[in-house]
Point group: C2
Chain length 233, copies 2
């Protein structure tokens, strides 16, 4: 973990442990420099990260303040890394319905910027929070980025595996959201009825090099999932 992330984590832990209310003024940059014994740019980076994550807000000429902790049980749409951390108050588990190497067809190849017919891992999973299904996920990973995958790995957090075992560093992601009526097959998997509502997302996740490495379609159970977004200026 980088120094500024350590500082950010330490500040966030302090806010949460002390249960500081929104609007509570935090130490200023000078005071943080004395407390953490790091460079000013490290403090600045830590504050930017906390601001992006909706933990604090900064008012020019006035100071640094606590933002309200987001409601519990909401999936945070900001982090391109899966839900295991977002839903930390839940026990998140996955059931792998399908996992295979297959040649990629044109639509997915376009999103992943790879040749049609080249090999990808296709993974279809049901995901559960405290035993309740909250989404169906279909993911496509080019084997040039993800050379090995199996059911045991996919039963856990794929993003931890990518980061820790494959040393992949995620960069940015594009997310497209639609609301639909469920078809029969998907409804059955989610224990819902055909025609009931669902939020679907198409997500293209890129490595920090800018190469796309994950194209995923996720269909959320509308009764078992809700979402949070923090918007920053």
């Amino acid at each position: 973990m980088l120094k500024y992330q350590e500082v950010a984590n330490s500040l966030e832990a302090h806010i949460r442990e002390q249960q500081l209310a929104q609007g509570t003024k935090l130490p200023n940059v000078e005071q943080l420099l004395n407390e953490f014994h790091v460079s000013k740019s490290t403090i600045t980076k830590a504050l930017t990260l906390l601001e992006q994550n909706g933990v604090i807000y900064q008012v020019q000429g006035s100071g640094i303040f606590v933002r309200q902790p987001r409601r519990k049980g909401y999936i945070n749409f900001h982090k391109p890394k899966g839900f295991t951390d977002d839903l930390e108050e839940f026990c998140v588990t996955s059931e792998v319905l399908s996992l295979e190497i297959q040649p990629v067809f044109a639509e997915i190849a376009k999103h992943l910027k790879i040749d049609v017919g080249s090999d990808i891992y296709y993974v279809k999973r049901l995901r559960f929070a405290n035993g309740h299904v909250f989404c169906l996920e279909e993911s496509y990973f080019p084997i040039k980025h993800v050379p090995f995958l199996n059911t045991e790995i996919a039963t856990g957090s794929l993003f931890h595996y990518f980061a820790q075992a494959l040393k992949l560093t995620t960069g940015f992601a594009d997310n497209y959201l639609h609301v639909i009526q469920l078809d029969n097959d998907t409804a059955k998997l989610l224990n819902l009825n055909s025609g009931e509502p669902a939020l679907t997302t198409e997500q293209i996740i890129h490595l920090s090099t800018g190469e796309p490495f994950d194209y995923s379609k996720v269909t959320y159970h509308y009764k078992n999932s809700q979402f949070f977004m923090s918007i920053n200026k």
Copy 2:
């Protein structure tokens, strides 16, 4: 407009006009310094803004690259300022169904951090893109921040009015999303049937001082709206 915003706008306009493809390498910081004759921190701020808005990505030690322009016709969930700019390829219009000053009830007062019973503007609008309804919006503004509003103003972009006439500077926003089945009344307003799907958002928008000034509930027409989110590391 601040200098770094001008630089950012100019760079974005260049990318769009030249129709540069994703992955196209842009001039480096040194070259941008020579081109714009501004300070390095202005360039850095402009690049951070463009990165946040999903226009570019930066690869450490490698350079600055173009990101794919998002698909047309998607509402960008990132900007706490209404849709008039997001749906710029459409003609966005509004029909004001209700606009009145009323005493605020407890649930909304809590979100806006004002006393129960204090005065707020309540505005209910249907919003249209190219004549097709895409959402029903109910907003609550404390009169201490929005002392005047009328139907003519609310028929246009409220956020332009807030920024230009009232000089309000928006800071951050919290967004909570749910997928529901429409009730009879809302369905009728959206030209849909009771029980059909909808995405609803609860948005609390804060001024740059951290004070909440807008609590809005928006119900989207699931056939006439789709959404984009850019996620950055």
